[in-house]
Symmetry: C2
Subunit: 360 residues, 2 copies
DNA sequence: CCGGCTTATGACACCGGTGTCATGTCATCG
DNA sequence: CGATGACATGACACCGGTGTCATAAGCCGG
């Protein structure tokens, strides 16, 4: 591999001059520059970032840790596709910062985070972002040196800067919109409460009901998610069946997420109920593969992953440039409701002035 | 940031001895080792990989380029979740090699690959893997220095080592299995032919029919995918409608991929046809979020992404260790048929001896 | 015509590790 | 008891860039 000295020799100049041509940090004569550029091309010279990094003490690297890319094969969950949008947002935001993003992957095993952080520190990254698969609490090893770190889609109890989805607000907005559309009996098939998003969204559901003066009916809310995912379809079937047999059955089912909504479509249709003519369905996540491909397309709430990624990157860059942020707390990012055909408007007159949120 | 000299001073030894403790490449006295380890802990010393890399001329880095992580926002396709399994396979395979994997992302823009490769070369990666979103032909800039490169899920016309899914074989196996299950009229809703997988899978479909002595009926094969994805549902609806009105309608629809199958479920049910009692459906990809969550679960063909990733990593490592591979051609990897409830067994007697492929 | 200033370039040390070689200390063996 | 070798450790150069400073050439106004 050619070095800067090889280039210098071929071009008949000093190594430092070649360095100047490469970095443009000092004026170089036209003839000299051309000679250097010719030599670089001739030798296929590629500068070594290691050597540069040593002297300049700046790596230009941002470390990104995620479990998105590969989940452990055992829990072959549908991997965190959505989470990728966070990474996308980070990349978009950092694209013009001159930073190179190094992504490492925990394979879904949290314990792998520590060695990965260590690897990053060896490479002297200037900042770290940890991206979680879903809204949750994490406890990562503390970074002993001062390398700044931001948590995305998760938080810890050390007050590390965090970027989180506003689940309460999202569910609230969806239910509010359903009420505007004329729905009064709103079934809610919830995620299991251990997940951070569960209680928050349930809060949002109750808030929206309360604001509209609708009494909360416990018979309309059931947890339909379990760890093993085996009996989940049956759990859903039974919950839906119970609710539909109520004296006042729900006119719409809010599902804990879009994946659950996908199941609910199949179950309702197997029960002989037409979606959305007889029963409406709404999801959460705006998991596009599902929400847009389902027939009919699914009304849901966007998890603003891209925006969260952008915010995470911005907050990290602010920390790197040494800005002392006053806001220590988590940054909440809300996502819009995507109104699609899976929910029937019971009182068209009421909602004529509303505009459905357009995609993009 | 503490250096090896700081550690050496605190421990009262030479820098080289600290180096020996860190790398274990030469015996060190017990008392000395403990003194050094204490100093390291005291200073929170983290060695600089840049300095190490310079001297040893080995980076221990593998560069991975993918568009999976972020697709360009305009073409908000369902991003390459499946492709992530390739990355997972690569990581799994490389986990114990002592190599650090650096992942970079093109955001779905092919032109970004060149600068990313350059960045990797600056970091002196010892090998490169390019992972494509779907089976396709690519043309990347040639690597001028000798850094080995492997293509995964794609190929070029320069004969760069490539790892590809065996689409022909996969579709063949699925159709063969359908025939074993008693199906004779097999509708095929195909992907658009520009996609590399399209013609290959169609080949497999015809091969399986031919082997079973079933005549190929063009009325049963229609392209149902278009670029814009807007009119796709209608396209599908019409094709299905046409086929179902035939004198001998199909008993099963093979879909170009699982996403299409998801649509087909909704369409068939909206037409009042029960799945799978009246019509069976099969997909391709084994896109788990869809295939396992659909009700009933979808019969499909696995795209062996994880295995492809493993093979890609192995082939790369072989190239790095300088093994002159005789096999220059692409490596084809076949995936199994996943037999689930979306296909009715028309002749149970026939297939009793067959075992459905178990997941994992 | 000369001091002062800008422009263009080079010499050289230095970043933080590791490879090489030399040195010192014992234990072992003939 | 001296030669031999294994073990433990240190001195020093070197990897490939860049920061600092010095130096030479060119230009300008007085």
């Amino acid at each position: 591999m050619a070095t800067i000295y090889d280039v210098a020799r071929i071009a008949g100049v000093s190594a430092k001059t070649v360095s100047r041509v490469l970095n443009g940090d000092a004026p170089v004569g036209k003839a000299t520059r051309e000679a250097v550029e010719a030599a670089i091309a001739q030798l296929d010279y590629v500068p070594s970032s290691a050597a540069r990094m040593m002297r300049s003490q700046r790596s230009g690297l941002i470390g990104l840790i995620t479990g998105a890319i590969s989940m452990s094969p055992e829990q072959n969950q549908p991997a965190g596709l959505p989470e990728l949008f966070i990474v996308q947002g980070i990349q978009k935001s950092l694209a013009n910062s001159g930073m190179t993003i190094m992504i490492a992957d925990t394979s879904g095993v949290v314990e792998k985070a520590a060695p990965l952080i260590d690897t990053f520190l060896r490479h002297r990254v200037e900042g770290l972002i940890y991206v979680a698969e879903y809204h949750q609490k994490v406890s990562l090893p503390a970074i002993s040196d001062g390398t700044p770190m931001v948590l995305a889609n998760c938080f810890d109890d050390r007050g590390t800067p965090a970027i989180l989805p506003d689940d309460r607000r999202g569910q609230h907005d969806l239910v509010e919109r359903l009420i505007t559309a004329g729905h009064r009996r709103i079934g809610y098939l919830t995620l299991r409460p251990e997940i951070a998003a569960g209680p928050l969204r349930r809060d949002g559901y109750r808030m929206a009901l309360a604001e509209a003066g609708i009494a909360y009916d416990p018979a309309l809310v059931e947890n339909c998610e379990i760890e093993g995912r085996e009996g989940e379809t049956q759990l859903l079937w039974e919950a839906i069946d119970r609710m539909l047999r109520l004296a006042k059955p729900p006119s719409v089912f809010c599902c804990g997420n879009d994946k659950m909504a996908l199941r609910v479509y199949g179950i309702l249709r197997s029960m002989g109920r037409k979606v959305p003519v007889e029963v409406s369905v709404a999801g959460y996540d705006n998991y596009r593969v599902i929400a847009e491909t389902l027939y009919p397309p699914l009304t849901t709430v966007d998890l603003p992953y891209t925006a969260m990624g952008v915010r995470a990157a911005q907050r990290l860059m602010a920390m790197i440039s040494g800005e002392t942020r006053e806001d220590k707390g988590p940054t909440l990012v809300a996502g819009p409701v995507y109104w699609r055909e899976s929910v029937t408007e019971l009182r068209p007159a009421n909602v004529s002035q509303l505009k459905s949120v357009k995609e993009e």
